[in-house]
Symmetry: C2
Subunit: 231 residues, 2 copies
Amino acid sequence: MSFFTEQPVTSADKTFFLLRKDIVEGAILSGSKLSETELSTKYAVSRAVIREAINRLESCHIVERKANVGARVVSLTPEGMIGLYQVREALEGMAARLAAKNMSDAEIADLNNLLTAHYQDVKNDESYYQEAGDVDFHYRIILGSKNNHLISMLIDGIYHLVRMYRVQLGMAGPRVTTAFNEHKHIVQAISNRDEELAEMLMRRHILYSRNNIEQKLVNKVYTRSEKREKP
Amino acid sequence: MSFFTEQPVTSADKTFFLLRKDIVEGAILSGSKLSETELSTKYAVSRAVIREAINRLESCHIVERKANVGARVVSLTPEGMIGLYQVREALEGMAARLAAKNMSDAEIADLNNLLTAHYQDVKNDESYYQEAGDVDFHYRIILGSKNNHLISMLIDGIYHLVRMYRVQLGMAGPRVTTAFNEHKHIVQAISNRDEELAEMLMRRHILYSRNNIEQKLVNKVYTRSEKREKP
DNA sequence: GAGGGCTATATTGTCGACACTTTAAACTAC
DNA sequence: GTAGTTTAAAGTGTCGACAATATAGCCCTC
């Protein structure tokens, strides 16, 4: 299990997905302690199941655990966010390169369709679909790389963390219209099977995103969710 | 826990490290089944401890687990190795870029010292120290990035897999003398704080490594360790 | 009144037992 | 003899209890 395409089947799977959802979407605040006994009553499963879920969250770097002490949801810092985007730049750049090489013609056609659909949303100013469209766009390219290591690192790991930052710091999907043009050029490069250009454009695209977010970040991070409760 | 600098403290920690060592170094063959009951007697711990260790190994992509069926050590394939090197190229390229930006002057001086020590080994043809030196070199640059996500992905994840491939496919540290020159140029770029060049040279370095290994790979993989035993 | 050590409590780590699922073997029917 | 079904065994998933560790509060000492 623990892979992007698999369905949750065991109780531990479901609990892991639930817990991750609750953390990423802010129902459980960044920095808060995760008590095993408490969570086991809350989610109505045994401590063993909670422990397994927490262990997986630790592997995703969503929680930090200290032996004999317990687990806390990671604290969000500007450095953490920047570091995340540096990794994204490297990995998704490579993903775009590999996608230009490995995506089938059908997949590329689908990607183009997605882009035109996305363009409709941009014209109609439907910001919700814009964010979903952005994620969808990136996912397709990542999957198009056909590199399982890459796919797993991004989709099972990085993306949930990025989303956690986005949600908990309250920044909706920004700069949609400019990003759309960047998406368009990336798809063109992939259509032309220009690996070099696809990578370069994707890296720039993510770098711009990062620059855009950095500004909003610095003033926000230390105002929210840094209130480590004392039990 | 589960981080590069931490010491193992709990029984589950130690078992995880032991199991990983046994798998990476080939004491447990690629593709073989990991029976929880069997391992719990072998390592003299409870099944819960073994389960936790296996879960961590799954997060590292060293084993694959199917619900209600069990866990197997991953099978080694040429595609897997190539994919691993693609990720390495992306991540270590970024690491070199960040190292050029973030390493202290003292750390860079140390890196230069390591290089001259390594050079002595090359002259004396001490191939064991050559491989260790190579790993040490890469580790320092990775750590020099000061990016915890990057560091963890490479040191806790990729590097153990790469080593597993190396060991189980029986390929000792190759092409040392040419690699040394590449190392030298990378260090020069870092010393000059030339981020762009440091990344480019590191990527090339890893690409060359990959090309070098690919040749030896294709003829070997399907001869060893693909003998899924039937219980 | 302040600091250090001790005790009590709460939480995590580990264990063995039970429940459920899978798998393979045995048996039946055709 | 083959295919399908049933059944038994082996292994995983889940649970509650016990053991070990850390934290906080209390007491004692100075």
